[in-house]
């Protein structure tokens, strides 16, 4: 594995290996005073974020630092990126400057794929930290890690992904990964927020959250982005919340063991009731915690092994 660009087509065995590594790392570091492993000493990891995202960038940065990699953050504001340098030139510059891995967040779908293409033959790997509406593979991996921890296994579990599936890279990555790991996935959204051709995805589709809740093992609430609220995808935030928000009443329809996930940042009240978000059955802070271990595992799998023959 040289790049992690998407969960689409990711070998389930490979995904499981990453989750196992994350699990081991989590247990290894549990309760330790010094949370630092020497594993990636001398390796240079660059995070390149063309969109603001404190949580993902910090998570990757902590993961890299706990593995002793040198982590350098490039943000679109404070570098030549802001001066109109092309993505390609920036990537080649970072590679030439010694980056072993570039972690990229970009508003254009496919940006990470393009980057991997341009870096072909340079030895620099690429991790997709979210590209447009395409994928966010480490988010799906950390969701899977959290679900596995809470539910024991993912195979055979019924998981709903609720909300703006159309624009969500988190949803796409989760659909690929969770179904590859054997889960039944149901997408719950208004038709305006479902992608074209969703019938051909290995999922079922519903517009009735209440009807789905009693049979679920987990429910993953998606973020409704502010710009979508005014895009005419649904009449009003209030109506959305009534139909697709995880209210306290809806929460009682879930089975006792069911887990609530949210990739954050949350819109309390509209997407999810505060009491639900703060309940012990919500795994939202665990998701963040697991995010670090999953990203450490990803760094380990991408950077620790021998370089593949060119």
């Amino acid at each position: 594995m040289k790049h992690l660009l998407s969960t689409d087509g990711l070998d389930p065995a490979q995904a499981t290996a990453v989750l196992d590594t994350a699990d081991t790392l989590k247990r290894t570091l549990l309760g330790r005073e010094v949370r630092k492993l020497p594993t990636l000493r001398g390796r240079t990891v660059v995070t390149m974020f063309y969109e603001n995202s404190t949580r993902t960038r910090v998570s990757f940065e902590v993961a890299g630092k706990w593995m002793s990699a040198d982590v350098i953050n490039v943000s679109a504001g404070g570098s030549s990126v802001g001066k109109g340098e092309s993505l390609r030139d920036t990537a080649l510059t970072l590679s030439a400057a010694g980056a072993d891995l570039v972690i990229v967040r970009h508003p254009a779908s496919g940006a990470a794929h393009r980057l991997a293409g341009w870096l072909e033959g340079t030895g620099t790997g690429v991790v997709n930290a979210g590209d447009g509406m395409h994928e966010h593979p480490t988010q799906a991996l950390l969701d899977a890690a959290t679900l596995r921890e809470r539910l024991g296994t993912i195979a055979g579990k019924r998981i709903a992904i609720v909300g703006d599936v159309l624009h969500s890279r988190v949803a796409r990555s989760n659909v690929h990964l969770l179904t590859a790991l054997g889960a039944e996935v149901v997408l719950v959204a208004p038709p305006t927020l479902l992608p074209t051709g969703v019938d051909s995805w290995p999922v079922s589709v519903s517009h009735d959250l209440d009807a789905e809740l009693p049979a679920l093992d987990a429910v993953m609430m998606l973020r409704v982005q502010a710009e979508r609220m005014h895009g005419g995808f649904f009449p009003s935030a209030r109506e959305y919340s009534i139909a697709y928000g995880l209210s306290e009443r809806r929460f009682t329809l879930l089975p006792e063991h069911a887990v609530v996930l949210h990739p954050g940042p949350m819109l309390r009240g509209m997407e999810i009731a505060a009491a639900v978000a703060d309940s012990p059955r919500a795994a939202i802070t665990e998701q963040v915690r697991n995010g670090v271990h999953v990203r450490m595992a990803v760094l380990y799998h991408l950077l620790a092994g021998e370089e593949e023959a060119a």
Binding site: D20, T24, R27, T28, R32, K36, Y300, H301, A304, G305
Partner: protein
């Protein structure tokens, strides 16, 4: 990853220790540990056995059982994976991590006996010492190995050695343990021509 199966007898393979030899050797090592650490005597320092996966872990458990049998002292056992501390990670294909499990009471101020199957270059033990430093602060560290095959590359020696085996670098020492391989035995094998 499934454990590598070290099973079928190979004509290029020479038996160094039979199943009976392995049992006797481990028993002798258990006695040596009791003696050298003054286990069972009043005021002895707490002892912890930490096996290095994969084969050091069951060895450590067997030693602990025998120590309990011979001395009535219950010795806590754990496992210490050193993969994340290896200095040769980039020279080999990616490997899965094994479990690190420390005893409930931790290892601070204990006498830690590291247990491994084969002592060769010493690099594994150096990595284990690094890993140990991150896991706690033992009072002292000792090393127990079933086989010492020589060719040290670092100033490391074992405190307890089951069997010293002179080898050439082209040879491999295979340790089989019932827990992982279905049977006990130690074999010497010439590496196939590559």
């Amino acid at each position: 990853m499934a454990p590598r199966v070290r099973g079928a007898t190979d004509p290029a393979e020479r038996e160094l220790l039979s199943a009976g030899d392995v049992a006797r050797t481990i028993a002798r090592m258990a006695h040596q540990i009791i003696e050298k650490t003054s286990l069972g005597s009043e005021g002895h320092r707490p002892v912890v056995l930490l096996g290095i996966p994969s084969r050091g872990a069951p060895l450590a458990r067997r030693l602990a059982e025998l120590i309990a049998e011979f001395s009535d002292a219950a010795v806590p056992v754990g496992a210490l994976d050193i993969t994340l501390y290896r200095d040769d990670l980039r020279r080999r294909p990616n490997r899965p991590l094994e479990s690190t499990t420390l005893p409930e009471g931790g290892i601070d101020d204990c006498l830690v006996v590291l247990v491994d199957d084969v002592l060769f270059s010493g690099r594994t033990i150096r990595a284990a010492l690094d890993a140990l430093r991150d896991a706690g602060r033992p009072a002292a560290v000792q090393l127990a190995v079933l086989v010492d095959r020589g060719h040290r590359e670092l100033p490391i020696r074992a405190d307890y050695v089951g069997k010293n085996v002179p080898t050439s670098r082209a040879e491999e020492v295979h340790v089989c343990l019932t827990e992982l391989d279905g049977r006990d035995g130690v074999y010497l094998r010439r590496e196939a021509d590559q």
